[in-house]
C-alpha cells in the first residue's frame, strides 16, 4: 500500500512553547489510523497543523506527491483533506442545510453537491428531517452527525476526526463509530483522534500513541489493545503486581 498522508519530522509550537516534537507518521490509502494519548499530548495540535490552521515550524506534510504544509487551510480542503474539528464548530445560527452546503464549498465538491447531499441524508436521516432548522437547536449527537455530514459534503479523500465521541451518550458513540467504519469501507481514508482509546483501537487498523508532543509508540490496533503499558495507561487496567 502506498503512503497517502506522510508526515516527516514535523515540529510546531505555541509561541516559544514547542507542542509537537519531530513527529513522523503516515496513513496508507484506505486505512483507519487512530491517534491516542493523554490530554495535552498535542493530538489536536497535530490535526490542526495538518489542516493548515496551525503553522508548521519545520518538517513536512505530504498527501501523495502534494506538499500540504505552508498552504492555507482552504487549499488543503481542496486537496480533499478534511477535518471534523474538536467541539464540532458548526455554523450554529445557520440552518442544517446551509451547514451542509457550505461543506461543499470547494469547486470540486460543489459540482457534486446534490448527489453527495442525498448520500449524507441516507447516512443521517435526522439531518434531512431537520434541514430547515438552525444547527444550534439540535442535540449534541445530532450536531456531531451534522459535523461529519458537513465534512462528507466536501468529498474527503482523507477524513480527520478530532474526538468525535466527546460528550456523547454511549449508544450515539456506537452509531458514530459505525458510520466511520462505513465511510472507510466506501473508500475514505480515516485519521482519528480519540480519548476513547478502547473503541478507537478496536476500530483502527493501526494506531500511534502521542505523549508530550512525541510519538512514543505505534502498532496495529490489536497489538496495542494487548500491550500491557497501553492497557494500564489508556484502557483502565490495573498494573500487574508481583
Amino acid at each position: 500500500m502506498a503512503k497517502f498522508l506522510d508526515i516527516h519530522h514535523l515540529n510546531a509550537s505555541y509561541g516559544d512553547l514547542p507542542a509537537l516534537w519531530d513527529i513522523s507518521l503516515h496513513v496508507n490509502e484506505g486505512e483507519i489510523v487512530a491517534l491516542i494519548g493523554p490530554n495535552g499530548a498535542g493530538k489536536t495540535t497535530l490535526l490542526r497543523t495538518i489542516a493548515g490552521l496551525h503553522a508548521t515550524a519545520s518538517g513536512s506534510v505530504q498527501l501523495g506527491d502534494t506538499p500540504l504544509h505552508a498552504r492555507p487551510a482552504y487549499q488543503i480542503v481542496e486537496q480533499g483533506v478534511i477535518l471534523v474539528p474538536e467541539g464540532r464548530k458548526l455554523f450554529g445560527g445557520l440552518t442544517v442545510l446551509d451547514n451542509l452546503e457550505l461543506g461543499a464549498y470547494t469547486k470540486r465538491a460543489r459540482e457534486a453537491r446534490f448527489k453527495t447531499l442525498r448520500h449524507v441524508f441516507e447516512l443521517f436521516p435526522i439531518l434531512a428531517e431537520r434541514q430547515k432548522l438552525p444547527a444550534n437547536t439540535m442535540s449534541g449527537g445530532q450536531q456531531q452527525m451534522l459535523a461529519i455530514g458537513r465534512a462528507l459534503m466536501g468529498l474527503p479523500r482523507l477524513l480527520m476526526l478530532d474526538e468525535p465521541s466527546l460528550g456523547l451518550a454511549p449508544l450515539i458513540v456506537q452509531d458514530i463509530f459505525e458510520i466511520i467504519k462505513l465511510m472507510n469501507e466506501r473508500g475514505v481514508t480515516i485519521f482519528l483522534v480519540e480519548q476513547n482509546a478502547r473503541q478507537a483501537l478496536e476500530l483502527a487498523h493501526r494506531a500511534y500513541i502521542l505523549e508530550q508532543g512525541k510519538v512514543v509508540g505505534t502498532g496495529t490496533g490489536r497489538e496495542l489493545l494487548h500491550n500491557n503499558e497501553v492497557r494500564q495507561a489508556y484502557l483502565g487496567f490495573a498494573p500487574v503486581t508481583g
Binding site: I82, F91, L102, Y105, T106, G154
Partner: protein
C-alpha cells in the same frame, strides 16, 4: 400639533431612518465578519457623497443614476483599504486586535477627513436636482421625490443584501465566516477573500448612504463622525450580531429622533437617540432585532 404635521414628522423620520439603516448595515457587516469596529465608516459615507457630488457637477448625472458609478468606486476603495490597512489587523487576537483596530481606524478617520478638506475644500456641497422641490402630496403630507427615491432604494438594497447573504454561496460564506472563521476555513472558504469582499461591501453600502446625504442634506469633509456615531447607535439597537436588523433599527432611530424633535424640543433630538442607545445597552444588551440577520 395637527394630525398632518404628526404624519409629516413621522414620514421625514422614516426617510432619515432609511439612510441610517443603510449606513449602519455597512458598519454591522464589517463588525460582524471582521470583528472590528471601523471608526472610519462615516468617512466612507462622506467620500461616497463626494463622488456622487463631483459626478453630478462634471456630467450633470442624476445622483440616483450615478449610484452605478459611486458604488463600484467605493467598493474598489474598500478593497484597497483592506489590502493596505485592515488586513494587517484582522488576524490579531483579543485585546491587541481591539486596540489596534480602534487606533488605526481612528487614524484613518483623520487622514480621510483632511484629505477631503484638501481636495474638496471645507465648503458645504449638496446636489440640487431639477426635481428637488417636487414631491407627492398625500392628504397634506409632503413626500419629496428625492427622499422617497432614497428610501425606496434603501429598501431594495436591503432586500438584495438579504438575498445575497442567505441565498448565494459567496453570501453564505460571509455569514459562515462571521459565525466561526476557523470552521469556514475548514469548509474550504478562503477567508482572506471573504474579509476583503466584506469590507468592500461595507464601503459600498456607506457610499449609498453618502449619496442620499448629499441629495437630501449637505456634505462637508467633517460629516463622517456623525455618521459613524449614528451607525454605531443603530447597530447597538439592532444587536451587534444582526446585519440586516440594522435596517429596521435605523428606521426606528430616525422616527424616534424626528418625533422627539417635534414633541419635546428640536435641540433634544440627538440626545434622545443617545438615551435610547444607553437604555438598550443597559436593559437589552443583545439588541432589539437579534437573530434576524
Amino acid at each position: 400639533m395637527s394630525i398632518e404635521s404628526f404624519f409629516q414628522t413621522l414620514v421625514f423620520g422614516l426617510f432619515v431612518g432609511g439612510i441610517y439603516g443603510i449606513a449602519a448595515m455597512g458598519l454591522a457587516l464589517v463588525f460582524g465578519v471582521l470583528k472590528m469596529l471601523n471608526i472610519a465608516h462615516g468617512e466612507l459615507v462622506m467620500l461616497g457623497g463626494y463622488v456622487s457630488f463631483w459626478v453630478f457637477q462634471a456630467y450633470g448625472m442624476d445622483p440616483f443614476v450615478s449610484l452605478a458609478i459611486v458604488i463600484p468606486t467605493l467598493f474598489l476603495l474598500g478593497l484597497a483599504l483592506d489590502r493596505a490597512v485592515y488586513r494587517h489587523i484582522i488576524r490579531l487576537h483579543g485585546e491587541e486586535k481591539i486596540k489596534n483596530s480602534l487606533l488605526v481606524s481612528f487614524g484613518l478617520t483623520l487622514v480621510l477627513q483632511n484629505l477631503a478638506q484638501w481636495l474638496f475644500t471645507a465648503d458645504e456641497r449638496s446636489i440640487q436636482v431639477s426635481y428637488a422641490g417636487d414631491g407627492l402630496n398625500l392628504m397634506g403630507v409632503t413626500m419629496p421625490y428625492t427622499r422617497l427615491g432614497s428610501l425606496l432604494i434603501a429598501l431594495l438594497v436591503t432586500l438584495a443584501l438579504n438575498y445575497f447573504l442567505h441565498r448565494t454561496y459567496p453570501g453564505k460564506a460571509i455569514l459562515a465566516t462571521a459565525e466561526d472563521f476557523e470552521a469556514a476555513e475548514l469548509a474550504g472558504i478562503n477567508i482572506n477573500r471573504v474579509y476583503m469582499m466584506t469590507f468592500a461591501l461595507g464601503a459600498a453600502l456607506a457610499s449609498i448612504a453618502g449619496t442620499f446625504v448629499t441629495v437630501t442634506y449637505g456634505l462637508t469633509p467633517s460629516i463622517g463622525v456623525i455618521w459613524t456615531l449614528k451607525a454605531l447607535i443603530v447597530i447597538v439597537l439592532a444587536g451587534t450580531g444582526s446585519i440586516l436588523g440594522a435596517f429596521p433599527a435605523g428606521i426606528l432611530l430616525g422616527v424616534v429622533e424626528a418625533l422627539s424633535g417635534a414633541f419635546i424640543d428640536a435641540t433634544y433630538r440627538e440626545t434622545i437617540g443617545l438615551v435610547i442607545f444607553l437604555l438598550v445597552l443597559i436593559l437589552r444588551p443583545q439588541g432589539l432585532f437579534v437573530r434576524s440577520g
